[in-house]
Symmetry: C2
Subunit: 199 residues, 2 copies
DNA sequence: GTCTATAAGTCGATAGAC
DNA sequence: GTCTATCGACTTATAGAC
């Protein structure tokens, strides 16, 4: 915003840092969400890292934003609504460090004064609208029961995903995607025989 | 061990501290889970508080244990399985500080080396078994569809509760109990007309 | 039993050398 | 643009006075 001459280069370096941070957090996880730890991970000093970000909160919010952006382009093949959720969840099961970072920042951002509060609010609103539209389509296609309130299904799907990720962090034996698939199966019209156990 | 009088008194003071901590956290919430902050809240210095607890983690784990204990005696009228969950969730909606403390410690305890890790693992296992048995009873009474895997329903109910609490912390307009009721309604046998919207 | 004082460490963030 | 060095404000935890 305030930089002029090195604007393009600064932006590029910022993106490079975020991409590296995503990879290294995904691969090695992290212990605390501290600037020093992340600086070591991306190969900079803490001061060097904060040259590109105004504060710790802005830095970690930017990482989560970059994650969403990546997931959107990687798995968001246009109208794929609830299928995309399953794809993302399956991907998340391979990057526990990112899931942990997300969960940790989400709790801290509960305070309306937290710099990331707006990010999570807007993210939730966007996901809710995305899911709600997908539920309406699924109902029109006869894949979901028509008597269900789309907004309720949307909220439930997101709450279930968040909750399953918390439980999975605690016990990685849980199959998150299978649980969500079963949830959607249980809401299909007609008879619903179930197979074996999930997790 | 050798000094009986002091032993009993120490235990009593411990309990008193925990009860006070529960009340004050429930009423005023808290910002960070720091010993200093809680010490102020219960009217002791940080050193005085740590006289009764070996470490910060043990202290906060004890608070959550006390919370479960309180909820169990207050709302756990024997066999009331899924009804108790709704009662507790409705109560939780009146104590955001406790919900926040729980969510924060749960994320930190994801690390198997964290002192509270065992607490959360055992708590999850206990709840799962409790819910699973309640689901089996509900199925026998015809209140839930018989084709559903009880273990799956149990996990889903807990994940949904956890996820709803996270979303509620972010946006207190959400009606957590109503969402869970709808979930259970959606899994009842026969037709399932739904009423208005749930937040 | 509870305090003050303080140790020993980490945190985010800044100043200034290069 | 990135570093070293450092600041001041925190943290948990301990030692010892009372």
């Amino acid at each position: 915003m305030t930089r002029r001459g090195a604007y393009a280069k600064g932006i590029a370096k910022r993106e490079e840092i975020l991409t590296t941070a995503l990879e290294v957090v995904a691969a090695h996880g992290y212990r605390r969400a501290s600037v020093r730890e992340l600086a070591d991970a991306v190969g900079l000093s803490a001061a060097g890292l904060l040259h590109y970000f105004d504060s710790k909160e802005e830095l970690f919010t930017a990482i989560l934003r970059k994650r969403d952006e990546h997931d959107q382009t990687a798995y968001g093949t246009d109208g794929a609504g609830l299928d995309m959720l399953l794809t993302v969840i399956r991907h998340n099961a391979t990057v526990p460090g990112l899931v942990q970072l997300y969960a940790q920042l989400a709790v801290e951002a509960v305070d309306p004064a937290h710099p990331a509060h707006g990010f999570f609010r807007e993210r939730t609103d966007g996901l809710q609208e995305h899911f709600r539209a997908a539920v309406v389509r699924a109902q029109e296609n006869g894949e979901l029961r028509g008597d269900l309130d789309p907004a309720w299904v949307a909220t439930s799907v997101q709450a279930l995903s968040d909750g399953l990720q918390s439980m999975w962090l605690l016990d990685p034996a849980i199959d998150m995607a299978a649980h969500i698939e079963r949830f959607l199966d249980a809401l299909r019209p007609g008879a619903h025989p179930q197979g074996g156990t999930a997790s």
